[in-house]
Symmetry: none
Subunit: 213 residues, 4 copies
Amino acid sequence: MKAARAKVDHRTRVGRQRSARTEGRIIEAALRVFAERGPDAPVIDDFVRAAGVARGTFYNHFESVEELLHATSAWTTRHVLERIAQAMDDIESPTVRLGVGLRLFFAQAQRDPVWSRFVARVWKVGGLELPVHDLEVGLRLGHFRVPGRDAARDLLLGGAREALRRIGEGQAPPSFGDQMAELCLQALRADQRRIVAALAQSLPDVPERTRTR
Amino acid sequence: MKAARAKVDHRTRVGRQRSARTEGRIIEAALRVFAERGPDAPVIDDFVRAAGVARGTFYNHFESVEELLHATSAWTTRHVLERIAQAMDDIESPTVRLGVGLRLFFAQAQRDPVWSRFVARVWKVGGLELPVHDLEVGLRLGHFRVPGRDAARDLLLGGAREALRRIGEGQAPPSFGDQMAELCLQALRADQRRIVAALAQSLPDVPERTRTR
Amino acid sequence: MKAARAKVDHRTRVGRQRSARTEGRIIEAALRVFAERGPDAPVIDDFVRAAGVARGTFYNHFESVEELLHATSAWTTRHVLERIAQAMDDIESPTVRLGVGLRLFFAQAQRDPVWSRFVARVWKVGGLELPVHDLEVGLRLGHFRVPGRDAARDLLLGGAREALRRIGEGQAPPSFGDQMAELCLQALRADQRRIVAALAQSLPDVPERTRTR
Amino acid sequence: MKAARAKVDHRTRVGRQRSARTEGRIIEAALRVFAERGPDAPVIDDFVRAAGVARGTFYNHFESVEELLHATSAWTTRHVLERIAQAMDDIESPTVRLGVGLRLFFAQAQRDPVWSRFVARVWKVGGLELPVHDLEVGLRLGHFRVPGRDAARDLLLGGAREALRRIGEGQAPPSFGDQMAELCLQALRADQRRIVAALAQSLPDVPERTRTR
DNA sequence: TATGAATGAGAATTCATTCAT
DNA sequence: CATGAATGAATTCTCATTCAT
């Protein structure tokens, strides 16, 4: 994204809005394109065609596919993770936090398969402070007992990625996310009653993001 | 006449041998290239340079990068999985089989980081009948208790892939594979004594494959 | 809004004009290249160099040499044949029409040897409704007496192609076209007086096409 | 064709026969390939595949496609034209000679469509001394009256080429060759009785050449 | 800022030719 | 002589990037 001018006077506001709209169109299109074809295969023309803009317009907003990928990644996951974090603001127990967080995450995936495929394929693991933090708190408090924290982290993230792939393909039943969350907590040897509590907790509302068209 | 046919056969045989050797060189080089750069980024010149053959030679053996990827995948994983299966031929318990199988798999990864990175990045999941079969036997026998078999499968495979990535980067301690195996069995709620047995079992020898140069 | 649309239209129009001009340059160059080297031998670089455009520009306008050949063929012969047809609009007698048409055709060849060689070498026979139509009218009216109309057609077209080749090589005297026309009418056993009339008729003006540079 | 050794002792005879056979196979295959694809489009692999020989074998006999084309041309047309000339040895009248020669030529085309297509597409006009000679004798004797001898020559040869194309496509009735011959003589304003004689003359037997398989 | 034609570097692909067996 | 794998120059084709409007 090219640096926005600091000074925004009245004259430029309209132009900026149009620009923001164009940028949004490109990113939304990119989400779909990356979801279908992965991070490396697409060429600029794919985005240009999907967004319905001219080729030169692309370069008015992004310098390369790489940059577009970053922008799309950030724009796409930041909102979701922020909203999930917010929704869990008042939960204390790391077991419940981790369980509910995973369930919310997969619920989001069920709502938006394109987003799901995008994250499954593109995610270079970033913005994952949330579950990792809960994992570490849980370990410190002795709620989880695992042979190694890196291994635990890899199992959770790897499992989540595969789950997203399956959900994105539409081959997962509605309960799939809860099953996955339960498995994850089992892997961490969480207390059985806490697991049940995490699964029983009714999911807080997460405000829907602007949907992928 | 007989002499003539023998001569033809001889020429043909020599040609075949040379061809097979060249193909092997290309595939071995491809393993390294795919491991470093993933399945989409490399261009034909990368393989050609890595294998030390002429550009035209590539096309004498493979029609596209895609086809080379398949060939490399098959050639690379088949041997390993076959040898692991063989080495566990006399183990009965699905818990122990799954645990030992995973440990052998990660041990192979530790021995050959290039192979590890290749599988982590490229694996489109194939030739995984082995762990999946053990998982299903264990479920049928009641040795594992999971909320859903697809979820269990995804957790195992996803975790294994992340583990391979870490091992391939050289960022995993020697015990990492065993930790991962233990976590996987925990996730399946295997019996604690069986888990201990699976981890205590000394690993059978796996004949080393021709190493990546 | 109106201004914006006008602006878009303006950009589009300018782009179209530039594109059409480039396409014209390529086709004119292709005429020369095909004329010298035939339909199969030339490579894309030949056209690119002759037209003075970039290699990529070629592909912005044509998908292959084949397509360029079609485009060049159509563009090249359509104009000439249309103008000849127009110039003969008021001639009735099929004998005179055929004779004058052939004479005009060869006159065009004499004026433009490049065009002549192109048509001689490349012509896959198309846009020949004109002489064929006159031939059939003449046969129906009994002005021509031939043992078979396909044979007559082949003789005329084959003879014309050879004539173009010779004219294109610059090895034909100015009267060559008239001689050929006379021979053709003789072959059809046209009435002698009509032949004389066809040859005596002063050729109508044919507006010159944009010349090959 | 590479130069044959002058000295042929007993030891080499077998080898030479085999070589001659191989060369023949290649040429016969080339006839078909050139007939289908013209003189410029085919690549060496086409001949190699059609002849069922190895790639290197091609270079043992021919240095290039160009040379193969010449060899095929010569081998193909020489026999035919020689046999036609021979069959007409005792005909005196140039009109009858030309008429019968053309009829024999087209009869050969009807017998061998592959040969026909080859000659139609590839013929760079050579070995045509026969009809040209008859044409000139006829002109000298006043049997033909044409406005120009080059034009007459072009009409005859061009018509013959188109006729071969049509015959080669299998779209000509059996009488097509006779019709064409008649048209040609009409074009030359031959005497009507001589034309009738040329067409009435029963065609002498022409020994069949080794057929294209 | 949006447009899209033109550009040319680079990647993919073909194919004539060589050469060890 | 026959074979066919290997070669690399020539060719085709793609695509990121520029720029005038």
